[in-house]
């Protein structure tokens, strides 16, 4: 604990107060979601803001019964494959662009930045047409590539910035040690890019895990649906079963929290600019 002079203790208290308020503000809906999941169907309307009268897992059971397990499995498959593709493609692309002296590569980078600027929803109709025309509708394979295409520009930009600052001498040492460019990348650069990889993985995983619109359009068969769309279906069947919906959402949140806990050290380091 740092020891502050009295004047700074006031500032410190103010800062803590602000952070506390902000955290409460952000966590309130999450807390409400979890409490609501434990309430009965009636209780949620009679006492929407209070604590649940009885802590029962009934709504979780009901939610799971709709096939949440299958949705979760689909989400895991889609998210994992898309994130892996994004990391691999963006990593290689950013590395080549960051190390190239060619003007064309700089141009390519500009194009990628421009790709990042395209609003996702603006391209949704042509995208839908392309995917269905290619007969990739209702397939995980199809949506994985779409997600990857959405995620690659941002991740490439992130990796590019990271690689620009990567110590060149390590790569030079590796080349003198006998590494060809592939080996330099996979044996030295990648293992030392943990912070960049962690941040990219978390950003993209959260986005894909929660992505709703594309999944709604492209995955219509019940056994192909991902969690956000699956939970919607749960809402349709049990029109008034809000606790089950909240239970489903709570379950859907867990894997992301888990992922964050695993990667958080690298993630925080990289956000704080200490990733090197």
């Amino acid at each position: 604990m740092t020891h502050f002079a009295p004047r700074f203790r006031i500032v410190q208290a103010l800062l803590y107060g602000f952070v506390g308020l902000w955290s409460a503000f952000v966590l309130m809906p999450v807390a409400w979601m979890i409490f609501a999941a434990f309430k009965t169907r009636r209780e949620i309307f009679t006492d929407p803001l209070g604590l649940p009268g009885q802590w029962t897992f009934d709504s979780f059971r009901r939610a799971w019964g709709v096939g949440l397990g299958q949705f979760m499995f689909n989400s895991v498959v889609v998210t994992t494959s898309a994130v892996l593709i994004i990391l691999l493609v963006s990593g290689l692309a950013a590395y080549v662009i960051a190390r190239s002296r060619s003007v064309w590569m700089k141009l390519l980078y500009l194009l990628i930045v421009a790709g990042f600027a395209v609003p996702n929803n603006a391209v949704i109709v042509p995208l839908y047409q392309m995917v269905t025309a290619a007969d990739f509708g209702n397939s995980h394979f199809g949506i994985v590539w779409v997600y990857a295409a959405y995620g690659i520009p941002f991740t490439t930009i992130l990796f590019f910035a990271f690689f620009l600052d990567f110590p060149r001498e390590l790569e030079e040492a590796a080349r003198l040690d006998g590494c060809r460019p592939w080996a330099v990348f996979f044996r030295v650069v990648m293992p030392l890019s943990g912070p960049a990889i962690a941040s990219a993985a978390i950003f993209q995983a959260v986005f894909i895990w929660n992505e709703f619109l594309l999944a709604l359009l492209l995955l219509t068969q019940p056994d192909k649906k991902t969690l956000p769309v699956g939970i919607l279906q749960l809402q349709g069947e049990f029109t008034s079963d809000w606790p089950a919906v909240m239970a489903g959402l709570s379950i859907a949140t867990l894997p992301i929290i888990l992922l964050f806990l695993i990667l958080q050290r690298s993630f925080v380091r990289s956000l704080a600019g200490l990733g090197k």
């Binding site: 001498e169 030079e172 040492a173 003198l176």
Partner: protein, 409 residues
Amino acid sequence: MSHLKINRVEKNYGAFHAVKGVSLEVEEGEFVVMVGPSGCGKSTLLRCIAGLEPITSGTITVGDHDITRAEPWDRGVAMVFQNYALYPHMTVRDNMGFALKVAGRPKAEIRAAVDKAAQTLRITEHLDKKPKALSGGQKQRVAIGRAITRAPEVFLFDEPLSNLDAALRSQMRVELGRLHNQLGATMIYVTHDQTEAMTMASRIVVLNGGVIEQVGTPLELYNKPESLFVAGFLGSPRMNFFDGRVLESRGRELSVEIPGMPGPVVVPLDDDVPVPQPGAQVRMGVRPEAVTLGGALELSVALVESLGRETLLYLEGGGLRTVDSESAEGFVAVQLPSQHQLRVGEPVKVGWDPASLYLFDDSGRRLATPDPGVPGRVWAGGGWNRPQGRARRGPTRLWRARRPGAGAG
């Protein structure tokens, strides 16, 4: 036959010429030290040899192989970087064995090679640590060990000791020398440190502005610099330079007028240089250790640095000013090999043996040096013909031998 052959190598960065036609041949097992002012292209040349920078023109061969266009991993060259460049995610053992692992060698062989190198460098007990947990000196040893395990044809060092403190540096200097003897490997070593250059090199290459000024053994360069630049570069404190004008020549002796000097100075010329015309501008040089107390020149003390073993005096004298020398004020630097109690402002008389003088023409080329090897310049009083040219004593004066160039780096 020479082992490493650099032939008219040029390196341009866009319009900037970093290396301008350098040719150099290095024998097998030689320890070549490259020195030169900052930005003169030492690192660039080293990186060109390693293949980290493509060269603009010229050729580089190692043994019989032309490696001019070869990739770094095909050159048989290992490089030790100034800031170590150890892989932070690997243990010391993995760092040192990395090259062999990449080459797909069997585990047992890698183990043996790493163990042997670790023993040579005395880092066996650190093999399982990560580089982060090592001190600077230990890291540098690991970096050297990483080069050794590969058994390369040529070792390249880019200022490997400059991040270490003075004590560790002199210790590592000795160890590197031992290592060079033990491995008998060809080494090229870049440094800013004069002591390193003088003590470790079999030959020194002086680079300046992308060209080689002179190549030679440390004592050749010290005693017979071809140019003003080399004369001023080696030796610490720097040589005292005085601008002057040729009055007349008598045979191969030149009489030079120097402002502030009581009379003309007589300098014996080297045998292989043309005699300059009277009136020509020249620059005379005298090493601080060649100036002795008790001469005809009367100066006063401006600054005293007592180093215990030796005393450095900076003398000031009316119109006599040094140019481009150790002190910006134009003081005359004197290095006395003993302790002296002198106060600032005190008058002292100094002088020097004419045979210890250097002389350069107005384009910086050598006219006179105190080289013991030149015929006709052997002094009866002894000193010039001593082994290694160590003693720099004139015919009449008592003079204590001193290792040339052994100043602070």
